[in-house]
Symmetry: C2
Subunit: 96 residues, 2 copies
Amino acid sequence: MARVEKLSEADVTSRLPEVPGWEVTDGKLQRTFTFDNFVQAFGFMTRVALLAESMDHHPDWSNVYHRVTIGLNTHDVGGISQLDFELASKINHLMS
Amino acid sequence: MARVEKLSEADVTSRLPEVPGWEVTDGKLQRTFTFDNFVQAFGFMTRVALLAESMDHHPDWSNVYHRVTIGLNTHDVGGISQLDFELASKINHLMS
Protein backbone atom coordinates (compact mmCIF):
# COMPACT_ATOMS: atom_id res chain seq x y z
CA MET A 1 0.00 0.00 0.00
CA ALA A 2 1.24 3.49 -0.85
CA ARG A 3 2.22 5.56 2.13
CA VAL A 4 -0.77 7.38 3.62
CA GLU A 5 -0.30 10.99 4.65
CA LYS A 6 -2.35 13.36 6.73
CA LEU A 7 -4.09 15.93 4.53
CA SER A 8 -3.79 19.60 5.46
CA GLU A 9 -6.92 21.47 6.50
CA ALA A 10 -6.80 23.31 3.19
CA ASP A 11 -6.60 20.04 1.27
CA VAL A 12 -9.51 18.58 3.22
CA THR A 13 -11.64 21.66 2.62
CA SER A 14 -10.89 21.75 -1.07
CA ARG A 15 -11.75 18.07 -1.45
CA LEU A 16 -15.02 18.10 0.53
CA PRO A 17 -17.11 18.68 -2.64
CA GLU A 18 -15.94 15.22 -3.80
CA VAL A 19 -18.00 13.66 -0.99
CA PRO A 20 -21.39 15.37 -0.86
CA GLY A 21 -23.08 15.24 2.54
CA TRP A 22 -19.86 14.85 4.52
CA GLU A 23 -18.46 17.56 6.74
CA VAL A 24 -15.50 17.89 9.09
CA THR A 25 -16.45 17.43 12.76
CA ASP A 26 -13.96 16.90 15.58
CA GLY A 27 -11.18 16.20 13.09
CA LYS A 28 -13.14 13.54 11.23
CA LEU A 29 -15.08 13.31 8.02
CA GLN A 30 -18.60 12.81 9.31
CA ARG A 31 -22.01 12.11 7.84
CA THR A 32 -25.32 10.99 9.33
CA PHE A 33 -27.61 8.72 7.34
CA THR A 34 -31.30 8.30 8.19
CA PHE A 35 -33.39 5.33 7.10
CA ASP A 36 -36.99 4.21 7.49
CA ASN A 37 -36.27 1.71 10.25
CA PHE A 38 -33.64 -0.34 12.06
CA VAL A 39 -33.48 -3.14 9.50
CA GLN A 40 -32.63 -0.71 6.73
CA ALA A 41 -30.10 1.09 8.92
CA PHE A 42 -28.36 -2.12 9.96
CA GLY A 43 -28.44 -3.46 6.40
CA PHE A 44 -26.56 -0.33 5.37
CA MET A 45 -24.08 -0.83 8.22
CA THR A 46 -23.41 -4.36 7.02
CA ARG A 47 -22.55 -3.11 3.56
CA VAL A 48 -20.28 -0.44 5.02
CA ALA A 49 -18.63 -3.04 7.26
CA LEU A 50 -17.74 -5.20 4.27
CA LEU A 51 -16.35 -2.19 2.41
CA ALA A 52 -14.34 -1.10 5.45
CA GLU A 53 -12.90 -4.56 6.05
CA SER A 54 -11.93 -4.92 2.38
CA MET A 55 -10.04 -1.59 2.63
CA ASP A 56 -8.66 -2.46 6.08
CA HIS A 57 -9.90 0.98 7.06
CA HIS A 58 -12.64 1.15 9.65
CA PRO A 59 -15.15 3.79 10.73
CA ASP A 60 -15.93 5.18 14.15
CA TRP A 61 -19.69 4.94 14.05
CA SER A 62 -22.88 4.82 16.02
CA ASN A 63 -26.45 3.78 15.44
CA VAL A 64 -29.71 4.71 17.12
CA TYR A 65 -32.68 2.90 15.56
CA HIS A 66 -32.95 4.36 12.03
CA ARG A 67 -29.96 6.69 12.19
CA VAL A 68 -26.30 5.90 11.50
CA THR A 69 -23.53 8.43 12.11
CA ILE A 70 -20.15 7.64 10.57
CA GLY A 71 -16.86 9.33 11.44
CA LEU A 72 -13.75 8.70 9.39
CA ASN A 73 -10.16 9.51 10.18
CA THR A 74 -6.83 7.74 9.93
CA HIS A 75 -5.39 6.93 13.33
CA ASP A 76 -1.93 6.17 11.92
CA VAL A 77 -1.48 9.72 10.69
CA GLY A 78 -3.57 11.50 13.35
CA GLY A 79 -5.97 13.09 10.94
CA ILE A 80 -7.90 12.82 7.70
CA SER A 81 -6.17 11.09 4.79
CA GLN A 82 -6.88 10.01 1.25
CA LEU A 83 -8.20 6.72 2.67
CA ASP A 84 -11.01 8.57 4.44
CA PHE A 85 -12.08 10.29 1.24
CA GLU A 86 -11.99 6.93 -0.57
CA LEU A 87 -14.17 5.24 2.02
CA ALA A 88 -16.57 8.21 2.22
CA SER A 89 -16.93 8.16 -1.55
CA LYS A 90 -17.60 4.42 -1.61
CA ILE A 91 -20.20 4.80 1.16
CA ASN A 92 -21.91 7.54 -0.83
CA HIS A 93 -22.03 5.21 -3.83
CA LEU A 94 -23.85 2.62 -1.69
CA MET A 95 -26.62 5.17 -1.30
CA SER A 96 -26.91 6.15 -4.96
CA MET B 1 -47.22 -7.14 24.87
CA ALA B 2 -47.52 -6.45 28.58
CA ARG B 3 -47.27 -2.82 29.50
CA VAL B 4 -43.68 -1.73 30.01
CA GLU B 5 -42.90 0.48 32.98
CA LYS B 6 -39.92 2.54 33.97
CA LEU B 7 -37.99 0.89 36.77
CA SER B 8 -37.06 2.96 39.79
CA GLU B 9 -33.39 3.63 40.50
CA ALA B 10 -33.64 1.25 43.44
CA ASP B 11 -35.10 -1.49 41.23
CA VAL B 12 -32.39 -0.98 38.62
CA THR B 13 -29.64 -1.13 41.23
CA SER B 14 -31.04 -4.24 42.84
CA ARG B 15 -31.33 -6.00 39.48
CA LEU B 16 -27.86 -5.12 38.14
CA PRO B 17 -26.34 -8.38 39.45
CA GLU B 18 -28.62 -10.21 36.97
CA VAL B 19 -26.60 -8.73 34.11
CA PRO B 20 -22.89 -9.01 34.97
CA GLY B 21 -20.70 -6.45 33.24
CA TRP B 22 -23.45 -3.87 32.76
CA GLU B 23 -23.58 -0.60 34.66
CA VAL B 24 -25.82 2.45 34.64
CA THR B 25 -24.35 5.37 32.67
CA ASP B 26 -26.29 8.46 31.60
CA GLY B 27 -29.58 6.76 32.44
CA LYS B 28 -28.85 3.69 30.35
CA LEU B 29 -27.70 0.16 30.98
CA GLN B 30 -24.28 0.18 29.37
CA ARG B 31 -21.55 -2.31 28.62
CA THR B 32 -18.46 -2.25 26.40
CA PHE B 33 -17.30 -5.42 24.66
CA THR B 34 -13.80 -5.79 23.25
CA PHE B 35 -12.87 -8.31 20.56
CA ASP B 36 -9.72 -9.31 18.70
CA ASN B 37 -10.57 -7.39 15.55
CA PHE B 38 -13.26 -5.66 13.51
CA VAL B 39 -14.67 -8.82 11.95
CA GLN B 40 -15.34 -10.32 15.36
CA ALA B 41 -16.80 -7.07 16.66
CA PHE B 42 -19.13 -6.66 13.70
CA GLY B 43 -20.12 -10.32 13.79
CA PHE B 44 -21.21 -9.76 17.39
CA MET B 45 -23.12 -6.64 16.35
CA THR B 46 -24.97 -8.65 13.72
CA ARG B 47 -26.10 -11.16 16.31
CA VAL B 48 -27.21 -8.36 18.64
CA ALA B 49 -29.07 -6.68 15.74
CA LEU B 50 -31.08 -9.84 15.08
CA LEU B 51 -31.91 -10.17 18.78
CA ALA B 52 -32.92 -6.53 19.01
CA GLU B 53 -35.12 -6.67 15.92
CA SER B 54 -36.85 -9.82 17.16
CA MET B 55 -37.62 -8.02 20.44
CA ASP B 56 -38.51 -4.79 18.64
CA HIS B 57 -36.21 -3.16 21.16
CA HIS B 58 -33.06 -1.52 19.80
CA PRO B 59 -29.78 -0.41 21.32
CA ASP B 60 -27.99 2.91 21.13
CA TRP B 61 -24.54 1.69 20.25
CA SER B 62 -21.19 2.55 18.79
CA ASN B 63 -18.22 0.71 17.37
CA VAL B 64 -14.59 1.62 16.96
CA TYR B 65 -12.62 -1.19 15.33
CA HIS B 66 -12.61 -4.01 17.92
CA ARG B 67 -14.73 -2.29 20.55
CA VAL B 68 -18.53 -2.16 20.80
CA THR B 69 -20.33 -0.03 23.39
CA ILE B 70 -24.02 -0.73 23.91
CA GLY B 71 -26.47 1.51 25.74
CA LEU B 72 -29.98 0.33 26.55
CA ASN B 73 -32.97 2.29 27.66
CA THR B 74 -36.65 2.44 26.79
CA HIS B 75 -37.57 5.67 25.05
CA ASP B 76 -41.31 5.12 25.55
CA VAL B 77 -40.98 5.24 29.33
CA GLY B 78 -38.02 7.64 29.54
CA GLY B 79 -35.77 5.29 31.43
CA ILE B 80 -34.66 1.72 32.03
CA SER B 81 -37.32 -0.98 31.89
CA GLN B 82 -37.66 -4.74 32.09
CA LEU B 83 -37.04 -4.86 28.31
CA ASP B 84 -33.55 -3.45 28.80
CA PHE B 85 -32.68 -6.10 31.34
CA GLU B 86 -34.04 -8.79 29.00
CA LEU B 87 -31.96 -7.58 26.08
CA ALA B 88 -28.85 -7.13 28.25
CA SER B 89 -29.23 -10.67 29.54
CA LYS B 90 -29.66 -12.09 26.04
CA ILE B 91 -26.58 -10.19 24.85
CA ASN B 92 -24.59 -11.61 27.76
CA HIS B 93 -25.69 -15.08 26.73
CA LEU B 94 -24.29 -14.48 23.23
CA MET B 95 -20.90 -14.09 24.87
CA SER B 96 -21.05 -17.17 27.05
